[in-house]
């Protein structure tokens, strides 16, 4: 097995709302290894974006890391991100070691500056002395690598199309060759053909070893199966299943994973035959999560134990699932 790049141990991250907790991330452990693309899927409100903030330790009120560790492995050293201050993270980690393609890349670029000037601002933050011409040449090379014209950097963000903007964001996010990259729903605002192009761009990032590993966050299993090897399925702030993507497609273990997989609408004939499927009910209020397994109120296979005890992740044929059925 490859060396780990980022490791989360027993993380609990709660939103503190009027003396109450919203348990957005509840006891989650993940290891992301070198060369890996890990897909993280779940419905809206399952804690995916909170998890991405925990991975980077971008903890802003009202979010708070209650418990757990976030470790970054960098050239043989282990950096505990949860022990660093925001200033230290900003100075030494963000943009250099880690980076993110944000959820809404459409508005992720400073709107009233030319892209070139935004990039120079990032560079000025990380290096004391910069040679503008040299940097621009490097940046232009990176822009061409992700498939957009090098002249784009002399434009304003509002002059670009959605797909161009998304790829410009990818280029900027990976300028300093970060070890670990989070892609947070990078394709959800794009049309299907542009989605493919962006997915290909993200794949290239790893193949060209611009980044070591990627956490690809999405609600769309159909998208993530094209890019990830491992899939982490989240439900209501918990991990319910971790498996290789082939295994999950072939045989989803957790009832929630099954539901998620069946809700994918594809033009294949079997989908037409079985009709459109959705998971009945809604995700729970995480201020008062249901006892036992958090999925039990919506589960077709509910057992007596499900609303009494919390299922732990256990190994089933080399896969991991948190369900009493196994």
């Amino acid at each position: 097995m490859n060396r780990p790049v980022l490791q989360i141990e027993n993380a609990r991250a709660y939103y503190i709302v009027e003396n109450n907790y919203v348990r957005a991330i509840d006891d989650i452990s993940i290891v992301i290894r070198e060369g890996e693309v890990v897909g993280i899927v779940g419905e809206s409100g399952s804690g995916k974006t909170t998890l991405s903030n925990v991975m980077l330790m971008n903890i802003k009120r009202p979010l708070s890391l209650i418990d757990g560790k976030v470790k970054l492995y960098s050239n043989g050293n282990v950096i505990e991100l949860n022990k660093l201050s925001r200033e230290e993270l900003q100075k030494n980690i963000w943009g250099k070691e880690t980076s993110i393609i944000p959820q809404s890349a459409m508005n992720a670029l400073m709107p009233t500056k030319k892209i070139k000037d935004s990039i120079l601002d990032v560079m000025k933050t990380h290096f004391e002395e910069i040679h503008e011409k040299e940097i621009i040449e490097k940046v232009q090379a990176r822009f061409e690598e992700v498939g957009i014209s090098k002249d784009v950097i002399f434009r304003y963000p509002f002059e670009l199309s959605g797909g161009m903007k998304q790829r410009a964001v990818i280029a900027i996010a990976t300028l300093l060759n970060p070890r670990f990259l989070i892609a947070d729903e990078p394709t959800s605002a794009l049309d299907v053909s542009t989605q493919k192009m962006v997915l290909k761009t993200i794949q290239d990032l790893r193949e060209k070893e611009i980044v070591k590993s990627i956490a690809f966050i999405t609600h769309d299993i159909a998208t993530v199966r094209q890019i990830a090897e491992t899939l982490v399925v989240m439900y209501a702030g918990k991990i319910v299943e971790i498996s290789s993507i082939e295994d999950i497609i072939k045989e989803p273990l957790h009832p929630y994973t099954r539901g998620l997989l069946f809700s994918v609408v594809t033009p294949e004939p079997e989908v037409k035959k079985r009709g459109i499927y959705y998971i009945p009910g809604t995700p729970p209020n995480l201020m008062y999560p249901p006892p036992g397994c958090r999925f039990h109120p919506r589960c077709e296979y509910k057992l007596d134990i499900c609303d009494k005890e919390e299922p732990k992740l256990k190994d089933v044929n080399g896969r991991k699932v948190a369900c009493f059925l196994y």
């Binding site: 971008n58 900003q90 963000w94 943009g95 809404s104 709107p111 030319k114 990032v122």
Partner: protein, 343 residues
């Protein structure tokens, strides 16, 4: 790259300029109609004054009336009067004052204009800069002590009526403590000259009216900008910038630059609105500006003078707006370049 950016910019500015001419035309039309819609005749007011001064000679009155009718062009049909008025207004001729007959209204207005502009432009801009900076810092440090202090201070200050603040300043700093003079634009008995002595004397008189406008205006700016900044704090480009490691200083600069845009429009409106507000400030401080002149014109029903002042005020508000549009195009590329997107 240069010509690429310049062409839409020129187009934008020329479009604004044409718009400015059209609105100026509409404004002088309204200024023409309004006094004529008021019942009564400005000449009879003047003639009655002559009566009251005891000059009851009917021959004299008839000749005065005839001269005045000709002078003010009131004998002609309304459309001729209108064309006359518009052509003269575009040439900058607003007729003769009634109360200070036979002085031209412009001769009365031009000497007082610099006083008003000198008082208003620096004070409004100072209030704008201080208020926006305070508000931006408060918004950026939302929830901190700085934020709470600035918000409360701004709320109190913005609710103080500016004329009351002016009177309070006169009462405390002038009448009681004798630190600053309480009235006038310069010491009585001196003649405006370009000497250091006079300029210092003028600045000394300037401080209180200046302060009264700055203090009462900055609170509103601070409150507005604070909210705009708080909206901007969660913007996607802020989050992305932070996660790329941008320094707090740089992020603050980004937020400030983008949230200040609506306030630039606000600055134009306030430059316009404050010209009316300065009327009362100038009366309180006995300050020799257009506001004070307008006050005198209104109390003597000097219609040509009122018209002249209004046209000049409207004109300067338009110019301020035009200037701000120009500024807006400079600071927001979306406005400048957006013009070419449709074509």
């Amino acid at each position: 790259m240069k010509s690429y950016a310049l062409k839409p910019f020129l187009k934008y500015i020329s479009r604004k300029f044409i718009f400015l001419l059209v609105t100026y035309f509409i404004a002088i039309t309204i200024v023409f109609i309004l006094p004529r819609a008021i019942p009564g005749n400005p000449l009879s007011t003047l003639l009655r004054q002559i009566f009251q001064q005891g000059q009851a000679n009917p021959e004299l009155i008839r000749s005065v009336h005839k001269t005045l009718m000709e002078e003010f062009g009131l004998g002609k049909p309304w459309y001729e009067q209108y064309i006359d008025f518009v052509t003269r207004a575009f040439r900058g001729d607003f007729g003769t004052s009634i109360s200070s007959y036979p002085k031209k209204t412009l001769e009365l207005i031009i000497p007082v204009m610099p006083w008003t502009l000198m008082l208003l432009i620096p004070s409004i801009i100072t209030a704008w800069i201080i208020g926006n900076t305070l508000g931006a810092i408060a918004g950026y440090k939302r929830g901190s002590f700085t934020d709470r202090f600035t918000l409360n201070f701004s709320l109190i200050v913005s609710q103080i009526p500016y004329y009351w603040l002016g009177m309070l300043l006169i009462f405390t700093l002038s009448v009681k403590l004798h630190i600053f003079p309480g009235q006038g634009g310069y010491s009585q008995g001196t003649i405006p000259t370009f000497t250091l002595k006079f300029i210092l004397d003028m600045l000394y008189h300037y401080i209180l009216p200046f302060l009264s406008i700055v203090i009462s205006a900055l609170g509103g700016w601070a409150i507005g900008t604070r909210v705009l900044v708080i909206y901007e704090l969660d913007a996607d480009y802020v989050n992305f910038g932070e996660l790329l490691g941008l320094k707090e200083k740089t992020v603050f600069r980004y937020i400030f630059r983008n949230s200040i845009l609506p306030q630039v429009t606000g600055l134009a409106l306030s430059l316009g609105g404050a010209l009316g507000g300065a009327l009362i400030t100038e009366i309180i401080f006995n300050y020799p500006g257009t506001g004070y002149l307008l006050f005198r014109a209104l109390s003597t029903l000097d219609y040509p003078l009122i018209q002249g002042i209004f046209i000049i005020l409207i004109g300067s508000i338009y110019l301020a707006n035009f200037f701000v549009d120009f500024l807006y195009a400079l600071i927001d590329p979306r406005i400048r370049l957006g013009q070419s997107e449709g074509s």
